[in-house]
């Protein structure tokens, strides 16, 4: 059989029928785009999720389960069971296996968003995604006691600008009636969007956190004992307790040893977790969602195959005459069958190519907007093995589907002119 001729004829035939085929090809392209898109999103969402925090070797909090600790430190969900004494933080600071520590103090909120008291080290050491550091979209990191830095989502949702004055609420929750009205904060900076819970945070200094709680020992402001901002600035504060610590080690090989040492810390009961491991566990918990997506992907495959079969049957109906001509000039039934298969596979390849192009273009155009508006961090990356596999399955399935008309064409043309009785 003449492969070159078969290819030429198949391509010419596809081009000849391009008006009819354009729609069919569009259908196939859309379903392949959907299939590929869902698979890509699955991988990306999982990736974004499991790289919510990166570069931090250990997260330390009061003794609790790893998921609980992860949820309240990283995702701002739930509350700490207990605090960590400042002396513990200082003891860990002295450990020479530890490269850096970031103190985190939680408790207050601002219109439903968590207030995170920390210091410069948070900006310097926190990493997410592919080892990306935090970046300020505008302004600068807090330097004054009553400066506040807003996460990207907080600033966007509440419409805050630099130098806005904001009043924090005491305790968590969306509606708190107890506010730190006497000590307003000034927005000194706004973080760039990260697509992680960092966007949902309101960042103040540890000093500021201490200052606004002077006189609040009973849980409510005791009249006459609270400080005005001017009074507060005169004083220096040492935090009594913090909520959690992010730790980076000099040598990550020691992670498990340091984790064990912290878990057995004698001063007070602590838990140290590996954020990557805890994140993977959390993702497994949410596996239902992923499985549902997988099932949808399966249905999309079936839909596209049904579409492909319909296209082929439509095509085959009009071809009796041309098959007769080819047979008369000496084309073998195998060549007739091969034409069907080649056309089908070519169609699938074109659709796959278009789907990849559409997907890449959509992602390239939408990803900055998605990150800004929804905090969804989708990167444009080469396809991974699973996606190539899925993509390759489309022409293979097309080949199998193409065998149906190919076989019937082959059988008919073996028996005569190929279905038509010319003349």
């Amino acid at each position: 059989m003449n492969a070159r001729l078969a290819l030429d004829l198949a391509l010419a035939s596809l081009w000849h029928r391009r008006r009819v085929l354009a729609l069919a090809c569009l259908t196939l392209t859309l379903s392949v785009s959907l299939l590929l898109g869902i698979q890509y999103l699955r991988t990306e969402v999982r990736h974004t999720f499991t790289s919510t925090i990166n570069g931090t070797d250990l997260i330390v909090g009061a003794r609790s389960g790893p998921l609980n600790l992860l949820l309240y430190t990283v995702f701002h969900i739930g509350n700490a069971t207990n605090n960590i004494r400042w002396s513990t933080f200082q003891a860990l600071e002295a450990d020479d296996r530890i490269d850096w520590l970031v103190p985190i103090s939680l408790g207050d909120s601002y219109r439903g968003y968590r207030v995170v008291a920390t210091d410069r080290r948070f900006l310097d050491h926190f990493r997410y995604g592919q080892d990306q550091p935090l970046r300020l979209a505008s302004g600068h990191w807090f330097s004054d006691m009553f400066d506040v830095v807003l996460g990207a989502s907080v600033a966007r949702e509440l419409g805050h600008q630099l130098d806005d004055q904001i009043i924090l609420s005491h305790g968590g929750g969306r509606t708190s009636f107890v506010t730190h009205a006497a000590t307003p904060f000034r927005v000194s900076g706004i973080l760039a969007a990260t697509g992680t819970p960092v966007d949902q945070g309101v960042y103040i200094s540890l000093d500021g956190m201490e200052a606004i709680h002077v006189g609040w020992e009973s849980g409510i402001a005791a009249p006459g004992r609270t400080l005005t901002p001017e009074q507060a600035r005169q004083r220096t504060f040492t935090p009594g307790a913090i909520t959690a610590i992010y730790i980076g080690l000099k040598n990550p090989v020691l992670t498990f040893r340091v984790q064990r040492a912290i878990n057995e810390f004698e001063g007070e009961p602590l838990s140290a977790i590996l954020p990557g491991v805890a994140l993977s566990e959390l993702w497994r918990l949410m596996g239902q969602f992923e499985r549902a997506l997988l099932a949808i992907t399966g249905f999309v495959v079936i839909t596209s195959l049904a579409g492909l079969a319909a296209v082929l049957l439509t095509l085959q109906a009009q071809r009796a005459h041309e098959v007769a001509v080819l047979r008369a000039t000496g084309a073998s039934p195998a060549l007739i069958g091969a034409l069907q298969v080649i056309e089908c596979v070519t169609l699938a390849l074109v659709s796959c190519g278009l789907a990849v192009a559409i997907g890449a273009l959509t992602l390239a155009l939408l990803s900055p907007w998605l990150l800004d508006s929804y905090g969804l961090n989708l990167r444009l990356r080469p396809l991974d093995l699973a996606e190539w596999g899925l993509l390759a399955a489309v022409p293979v399935a097309a080949l199998l589907v193409g065998l149906v008309p190919a076989l019937s064409g082959w059988r008919q043309s073996r028996a005569g002119w190929g279905g038509a009785r010319p003349g």
Partner: protein, 240 residues
């Protein structure tokens, strides 16, 4: 007769005729009447007119000669090849190499240009390519020119051609590479009288020029005077 596929006759023997059939009969379905065909013998380069009413089995006979169907009984010899001795694949190759076929209509592959339709047999058959001198493309141009196809149609889709032009392009496709035998199945029935006579003149003239034998099937007896030999297929050949 030898069984060699070589078309060149051995110098010592008289050349085999272009076509010879013996005792042919064929039945499409077991419950249908059996078609019986008269014995044919057509010397090389000569033209045979097969006349018969519709239903007389004209197209069936051509199908048998093409090797698309096998006869129930009898023998078909094209040149010095007994078709009964060829397997399906060899029959397809034999057809590509030695036969040109023209149908009543829908003769052309709709998505190829006129020129590509004419050179199609040369792509399927190395022998036809070798005989299309100096090369398939110039040979096709020459034929299209001789068959009065305007040059600006050569590279366009054949669907833009008139029926008469389409049939002449089909004739060029049958003629290219000078196959020893051309089978034409009512190629003029869709044409008006002027176009019909012009088509016949051109086809038979070029066939004579290239020493190609022609079997021409038609229901119209008025065309008979163009041909050397006449055979009439009739109801009498049917047999329960």
């Amino acid at each position: 007769m030898t069984e060699t596929q070589d078309t060149a006759p051995a110098p010592a023997e008289p050349p085999a005729p272009a076509l010879r059939t013996r005792d042919l009969s064929f039945r499409w379905q077991p419950d249908q009447p059996r078609l019986r065909f008269p014995d044919l013998e057509l010397p090389r380069g000569e033209h045979l007119f097969l006349q018969g009413a519709s239903g007389s089995g004209k197209s069936t006979l051509l199908g048998l000669i093409c090797g698309l169907q096998r006869p129930d009984t009898g023998q078909i010899q094209v040149l010095d090849q007994d078709l009964g001795q060829l397997r399906r694949g060899a029959l397809d190759r034999f057809r590509a190499n030695h036969l040109g076929i023209i149908f009543q209509q829908f003769n052309l592959v709709p998505y190829l240009s006129a020129l590509a339709n004419v050179t199609l047999p040369c792509r399927l058959s190395p022998e036809r390519r070798a005989r299309a001198l100096p090369a398939p493309e110039p040979a096709a141009r020459a034929l299209l020119k001789q068959l009065d196809i305007p040059e600006d149609h050569w590279h366009r889709k054949v669907t833009g051609l008139s029926i008469g032009q389409q049939q002449r392009v089909a004739a060029a496709r049958a003629l290219i590479g000078a196959p020893p035998l051309i089978l034409a199945d009512e190629p003029t029935s869709a044409l008006d009288t002027d176009n019909r006579d012009r088509f016949l003149d051109l086809l038979l003239g070029l066939a004579r020029e290239h020493r190609i034998a022609v079997v021409f099937v038609s229901h119209d007896p008025s065309l008979g005077h163009h041909f050397h030999h006449h055979v009439r297929l009739g109801r009498s050949h049917h047999e329960r």
